[in-house]
């Protein structure tokens, strides 16, 4: 709780009970009063509003973004609230506006961070005939160790050794449809694995 003389700004919490409480006129008017005073140039009240808003926004972004990005998002929203503070009309509730700005900042962040280029694995990748293969083939072999044996075997036979589905079926003892399914599932897992590793880096 942040006390500023008669004002007592309670941060909004996520539980249903507190969400109900936050809709009470008393609580809303505290936030609004501090912000409106800030619009009129009262720096003391404005700081109290910003601190309360910062705490609210930290909770808002806590489960929506990694900590470093969440901190950036909180700052972005605080700056947006500040630069656009003239646009707020005290006759209307403040929190829908604050939350809308936070929501759209989060959407912008999602768009930015999830713009990932997907590159198809080409059929010659891992082919021992190509000059750069020793390292690449070794890397693929390491990746295949993360897959179940039958999926790794299907990929190794068809995608690395260049066998047909029928030949791979005869060699591995899996049915042709099972070879196809195992290749599909294995490549999907490999792709997810590579993506997760990249994210971790």
């Amino acid at each position: 709780m942040i006390d500023i003389g008669l004002l007592s700004l309670g941060p909004m919490r996520g539980s249903l009970r507190n969400r109900r409480e936050s809709r009470l006129p008393r609580s809303l008017s505290d936030w609004e009063s501090a912000f409106v005073a800030g619009q009129d140039g009262d720096r003391h009240a404005y700081r109290a509003f910003l601190e309360a808003a910062e705490a609210h926004l930290k909770r808002f972004f806590a489960r929506k973004a990694p900590p470093a990005d969440a901190a950036d998002l909180v700052q972005d929203v605080l700056i947006a609230l500040h630069t656009k503070r003239a646009s707020y009309d005290p006759a209307y509730p403040l929190m829908p506006w604050v939350n809308t700005i936070a929501k759209y900042k989060w959407i912008d962040w999602l768009r930015k961070t999830h713009r990932v280029t997907h590159v198809e694995l080409d059929d010659t990748y891992g082919d021992p005939g190509t000059p750069q293969q020793p390292a690449a083939g070794h890397a693929v072999g390491m990746l295949l160790n993360n897959l179940p044996r039958r999926q790794a075997e299907a990929i190794r036979l068809v995608k690395l050794q260049g066998m047909t589905i029928a030949e791979a079926s005869a060699v591995s003892g899996q049915s042709e449809s099972l070879v196809k399914v195992n290749i599909h599932r294995g490549l999907k897992k490999l792709s997810a694995f590579v993506y997760d590793e990249g994210e971790a880096i």
Partner: protein, 212 residues
């Protein structure tokens, strides 16, 4: 982390002038004035219709356009304010368009003389009308966008529809000053299509323009 930022924001907290209804009225009416002036400059003022029926149609199309524009303008103002008090606001504007443009169109199509149906697809004039309405829409749309950027909208989708509908209907109202066609079929179909088309364009453009 944020303490430095908070210090800077607090230090910069000079008193501000709030966006209010006077600002909106000035922007929107300014946009309409530019729209009307551009129609008069580039197209000219139409003559009064020679028949009573022509006068009736002219009054109807002016009333319908202004009614949709006024309803849309109120909605644009309200959607620039935070909160959820305008749920279904754009539905009412769409309903008004159906009542004032679509209903007369349908009645005229089925109850009117067969010979009038040739007015429906008058290609060259249709493009001319759409161009004129589009030109008159631009200043009102720009004024509405400036309002939205200065205001505090929370429902961007509704705001985008409302801005498109209000500005297109305002542009149409300005175009009535020139439009020489006094056919219920022609006006009902092409005015409505242009207003709805512009509203769709606004729906897709505006969210990218409103940024905090």
């Amino acid at each position: 982390m944020s303490n430095d930022l908070l210090d800077k924001l607090v230090a910069d907290a000079a008193p501000v002038r709030r966006a209010n209804a006077v600002l909106f009225a000035a922007l929107f009416s300014g946009g309409i004035a530019i729209a009307a002036a551009s129609i008069l400059i580039f197209y000219g003022l139409r003559d009064l219709p020679a028949t009573t029926f022509g006068v009736s149609v002219m009054i109807w199309k002016a009333f319908a356009s202004v009614a949709v524009a006024a309803t849309g303008a109120v909605l644009v103002y309200r959607l620039g304010k935070p909160g959820r008090g305008v749920r279904g606001g754009t539905d009412k504007v769409f309903a008004l368009i159906a009542l004032l443009f679509a209903a007369p169109l349908v009645i005229a199509f089925f109850a009117g003389p067969e010979s009038h149906k040739e007015w429906l697809f008058n290609g060259a004039w249709v493009l001319d009308c759409m161009r004129g309405i589009g030109m008159a829409t631009v200043p009102v749309w720009t004024a509405s966008v400036i309002w939205m950027r200065k205001a505090a909208p929370t429902d961007i989708a509704q705001a985008s529809w409302a801005v498109g509908l209000a500005s297109a209907a305002s542009g149409t109202s300005a175009f009535v000053l020139y439009c020489p066609f006094d056919s219920v079929l022609y006006v009902g179909l092409w005015y409505m299509a242009t207003i709805l088309g512009i509203a769709c364009v606004s729906r897709f453009i505006l969210p990218g323009v409103i940024r905090w």
